[in-house]
Symmetry: C2
Subunit: 284 residues, 2 copies
Amino acid sequence: MPPSPEHPVAVFDSGVGGLTVLHELLVSLPAEDYLYLGDTARFPYGDRTQDELRAFAIEIADHLVQTGAKLVVVACNSASAAAMPALERHFEDASIQIDVIGVLRPAAQLAVVASHTGRVGLLATPATVASGEYARAIAAADPHVHLESVACPDLARIIQGGFPFDQQVVDTVREYCAPLLTAGVDTVILGSTHYPLCAPILQRTLGRGVTLVSAGAGVARSVERALAARDLLNPQTREGDYRFQCTGDVESFRALGTRFLQMPLGDVTHHELSSAAAAQAVGA
Amino acid sequence: MPPSPEHPVAVFDSGVGGLTVLHELLVSLPAEDYLYLGDTARFPYGDRTQDELRAFAIEIADHLVQTGAKLVVVACNSASAAAMPALERHFEDASIQIDVIGVLRPAAQLAVVASHTGRVGLLATPATVASGEYARAIAAADPHVHLESVACPDLARIIQGGFPFDQQVVDTVREYCAPLLTAGVDTVILGSTHYPLCAPILQRTLGRGVTLVSAGAGVARSVERALAARDLLNPQTREGDYRFQCTGDVESFRALGTRFLQMPLGDVTHHELSSAAAAQAVGA
């Protein structure tokens, strides 16, 4: 099925964090329809190996394209860092013309543009930091920008746990921000799609002089340009629809998801990914 | 007791809406201590008469100054519109040197600066629109800017009710935005401190080309300048404390408040205002 303008834009993440990216897409490109998949059965991605993340990303992207997606957004930093070139090659090898857009390059570019001092901080999962992809993306954008990376093993999990505003988040944020304050950065990349939920706490800890950068706005512009280049922008003038699939429990996705999206959640259905089901069976 | 740098900045509102202003103060001026009062027993203010609102504002500001506030922020559009000059005169008459900062002038100035076309929209409570104060503030900032005002009787109440992200909000927002879309405004003032909570829904309805303006950032700058002018900026280098008083139920304030503040809520105590207690006794 060749992609057509009426088809949805697909967005996926390990959980609900990518809803902060979907949120930006719904605001910036309201005429598009969206299909969001949260791989909550295998959350968190932050401790997975690069090989696992590539396999997950290809499995999910295949499913989304088969469902009719005209473009796929990888709204997860860990998966973007591990799988972007592999995903592009995968569809090229299958002769499927589809744009795949990750969150990493847009965030790195926004950070380079935002920084005056050339000292940029990164808060991200261990998997994302270990991949070295942010350092490469920053160096590609401007080799004179210094990147100070902090691996945050707990933050996405605490936020996904449903308590983005409690004292534990404040204490965790303070610990992770300390090296960035010491390094004197003027810009910090929120290198997990979960982190925008605690942006106020981060901003208070880092101070007003530090610019927080997340991928959302950059991703929306990339998606718009990619769709326009293939004549795939949805011509409808009304607001588009959006719906959700998750690989884990539907009710907990719905409860958390509303908070991340800051808009009403519509239809949420369970979707079984074969390898996720196998992994759960082995784990059980 | 003359104000000293160690004293708190006080902020008050009819309910939890003003926490979106406190939020901005906590981020922009983290070294200050804050005392917030929510007059939840008399919420909403949006349908009150101008005389009632002036009496409420003076009673609350007196209490806050007696508690040791070094500056008072009226973080409520209805109260700012009705009571700002009366509050200033009240303290002048009592020979109390204290700055009182409202949300209306900062929001109007931000809107005039943000608009390119000179067509600005206002969403606010019936009391705020009826006061005509936004029209006056806009005209004072630039007489060539056209203001399109929409009185929104229900929106603050629905948001304070705890459901800022459901379909009722989407439908209500769409109804209130329709005249602004027809008028072709390029900037919209969120003329109630509750409305930033549904900014994503407003932005999606109005489109990315419309700039949403709320008072928070402008208020923070006004507070900083006012404190600096009187040598009242808190010199401490650690993050300040913040605490809460409300005139109604403490538990519902705490539950809603966390969502509005997007930070942990600390100490919340009940405070009985004499006239609020009298009003409740009459109402009961």
